[in-house]
Symmetry: C2
């Protein structure tokens, strides 16, 4: 894959994005419209995401399960709010072989109904609580506009579904899982997301409230990247999930759900990638170091192998590109695939007592003498890259963070350079609707304990209640 | 869960099986007929299966991908043999929201069509080959009779799909992956499966030939547990998967697929479990050791914690059951859940300088003095249990392995005690059909380089060509 085939990011962001997906061989289109094939390079990132998140979930006491893909229509209908939100995007199974089924089945677009149906049967007493279940699976939403990873009809995710004996405990869980998502984005993906509460208008259908993790892409467009919902007793009432509490009285259980999806891969691209292709933060890179031997020389091969073995022994995922391609081609391929560090070793380098490390994020070449401690230096460099990538993303985010005090401010910002827009809001949905008229700008989240940056609502001028972050979304 | 609620295995095997599934909390029925919820205890076994198999696949150069769940009808129709085999079990998506779709989509029952459609686009030259792809996913087959894990409408599996530039290489892959499956059953699941080639009648629709891994359950019924198919160029011709070979000529690619499913959990149960519940081979047990402190005593807790920490440090998955249940209840629960080793520590034991290890497989109690090296002893005991479980399963399998020389032999065996029946066969499908009349007995596999145990076909008496293993199947 030649780097030249990637459209410049500043020229056409949307085309640049799909070029990077294709050039780094992350995913491809298929014969099913709106559904992608996640290719080895893309799926390896997802596996890495899964392994880190899953470990954290389990440390916090969660266990994995697998619920059915199909949902009977009558089960879905029990919770009206949910079906109304999802109805237009639901796909229905109606036939088996050449026979019509008596009842339609929806392919899950989310599994609240299924989990509640399960919990209803399996919870009797407060002693059965909490249940801290999660599942990794595929879901289906028939979206009109699709883009690889960003918005696919089928996507992969994890969905946590927990039930608790008290509201406090459930709310603590809702908050805790949002903290986990934020930690994951900041520490692992090097994405400085912001978190907060969704407004009533933007919250998940049927939830009491929704906490959200919002990323800012390089082009200033916002991306919702992980939500954690507190349902209170709403769903347990609709699905009859009851337990006997300590006072020996029947009580409806307190319910939370939280999910994060393959959309994270879109976020990694749109925050970190550049005109040369993908750039992977070291902590999420399936392969952290590629060693490229230059020229056919036993001594070069020996050194390359020594480096590889030493790095692998120290839990750094290194590999040698010993394919028959030219060094130049290998450099470009490592670059387009976003491998954080490339180590070049050649015959002439050995004679000159040097080895070259190339950072993918800055494309900087670092020459070291052959007595370099390759493990220590690589480890340190990976940490530096991780930190620098976070800081660069944060700088960009700060640069694209604005403050608005009235609709003219809003319009000016959105017409010049969109981003995170801080502005006060009265709490009235009408104002959200009015603001949405400006390029589809929506409230991203209410900042918790947000500083009062104005007394008046950015839209109507009435008394402001909340500090809200606004933006155009994917 | 009280052990008494499990039906005796020798009384009613089918009921015993579902009792074990329920008592060990592996899975439960759901509102979708024929689809199960895999509960935490069951899913943890699947996660362990995945991690070990996936590691092996990757060591052999395979990479994971994720293809779409839905298959357009016209794509399916391109390979007639495949659709005819699967058509009655396919479920179809026909509606989205309240609108009818122009074309039906099948939910994948297997993904040959989807992978070939992908490879068609991505393979140009022999330099692109081999492609060694695998995916872990859910599939759907609308079976009439279902039983948890054994036969579910939806199940989880891995499906390997590889394409090669030569027939030799593809056949080598087909054989290699069957060897991996056999290794996994023998070494990890402690199940002494047999492998061989399916007859034409029993092979996978559309394959040139099918290799199969066959287990024998405690009751003498056979279970197909993993297959590896060689397709030659059949599918590549149907789906136009071509490449330019080294001679610069167009050639159709050589294709293999191989799969193993959540059915393995059924095999573990039906080979190893007993009247007291599940019995897990140590290498597949998500939790290998449970430590049960008896009585409230700080010294007891201290020792339990010390044991746990030491075992965990040595990669033995140990946990303490410090719930509020009675020791008797905890013993029974550890037993029904099949935890390989239970360590009991009590105040009186400490005074008497002893600690008790209980093997789940034999229920034997082993008393040791407190100076026991808990890590060494546990490690050794886990290995002993693993080996003994395999040997007991092999003894049982040998006991239920018979030889037949004519139809009367066959009938007598099948009417007394079914099992693996060795018998010679002429190669004529009519004889397979005739034998099937005896309690549905089918050929399991042709033994490779099988000893000639008779000159004549067990059915028609004509010249025998193959040494075949027969049996009644799930």
């Amino acid at each position: 894959m030649n780097n030249n085939s990637i459209t410049k990011r500043d020229e056409d962001f949307a085309k640049w994005y799909t070029d990077v997906v294709r050039a780094a061989k992350l995913a491809d289109y298929t014969s099913v419209k709106g559904c992608i094939a996640i290719e080895p390079n893309g799926y390896a990132i997802w596996e890495k995401i899964q392994s880190i998140m899953d470990k954290k979930f389990k440390e916090l006491g969660h266990v994995n399960v697998q619920m059915p893909l199909l949902i009977p229509e009558n089960l879905f209908n029990q919770e009206k709010e949910l079906i109304e939100g999802f109805a237009p995007e639901l796909v229905w199974v109606t036939e088996v072989g050449d026979k019509k089924l008596d009842e339609r089945f929806a392919i899950r677009s989310t599994s609240e109904t299924v989990f509640c149906d399960y919990y209803k049967k399996h919870i009797t007493s407060y002693k059965d609580l909490p249940k801290l279940y999660n599942q990794w699976c595929n879901v289906f939403r028939y979206e009109k506009e699709t883009r690889p990873f960003l918005r696919s009809r089928e996507f992969l995710w994890q969905e946590g579904h927990t039930v608790h004996a008290t509201a406090e405990e459930a709310e603590k869980e809702t908050k805790q899982m949002m903290d986990v998502y934020k930690w994951f984005n900041h520490e692992i993906l090097a994405i400085p997301s912001i978190t907060g509460k969704k407004t009533e208008k933007e919250k998940f259908a049927g939830a009491e409230y929704t906490l959200t993790n919002e990323d800012l892409m390089y082009n200033g467009v916002c991306l919702q990247d992980g939500t954690s919902h507190y349902f209170g007793q709403k769903f347990s009432k609709a699905y009859d999930v009851k337990f006997t509490n300590k006072e020996n009285k029947d009580e409806y259980a307190y319910y939370t759900t939280w999910g994060k999806t393959t959309r994270m891969i879109a976020a990694i691209i749109m925050v970190h990638a550049d005109d040369y292709g993908l750039v992977l933060p070291p902590r999420i890179a399936p392969k952290q170091v590629v060693i490229i031997p230059i020229g056919n020389d036993p001594k070069v091969d020996e050194l390359a192998n020594k480096y590889k073995e030493e790095l692998l022994k120290n839990d750094i995922t290194a590999y040698i590109d010993d394919s028959e391609k030219s060094p130049g081609f290998k450099f470009a391929e490592a670059e387009v695939n976003g491998i954080p560090i490339r180590i070049e070793v050649g015959k002439r380098d050995l004679e000159n007592n040097k080895v070259t490390f190339v950072r993918r994020d800055t494309r900087e070449k670092i020459e070291k003498t052959l007595d370099v401690n390759v493990v220590d230096f690589t480890k340190e460099l990976l940490e530096t890259i991780q930190k620098d990538m976070y800081n660069r993303a944060l700088d960009r985010q700060n640069k694209l963070t604005f403050e608005a005090h009235n609709l003219e401010d809003m319009e000016k910002i959105l017409n010049t350079q969109p981003g995170f827009i801080h502005a006060m809001w009265c709490g009235d949905e009408a104002c959200e609707t009015r603001i949405k008229e400006i390029k589809g700008c929506k409230s991203r989240c209410i900042v918790e304990n947000g500083e009062k940056i104005d007394d008046k609502c950015v839209c109507c001028g009435k008394e402001a209640k909340h500090h809200v972050i606004w933006g155009i979304q994917y």
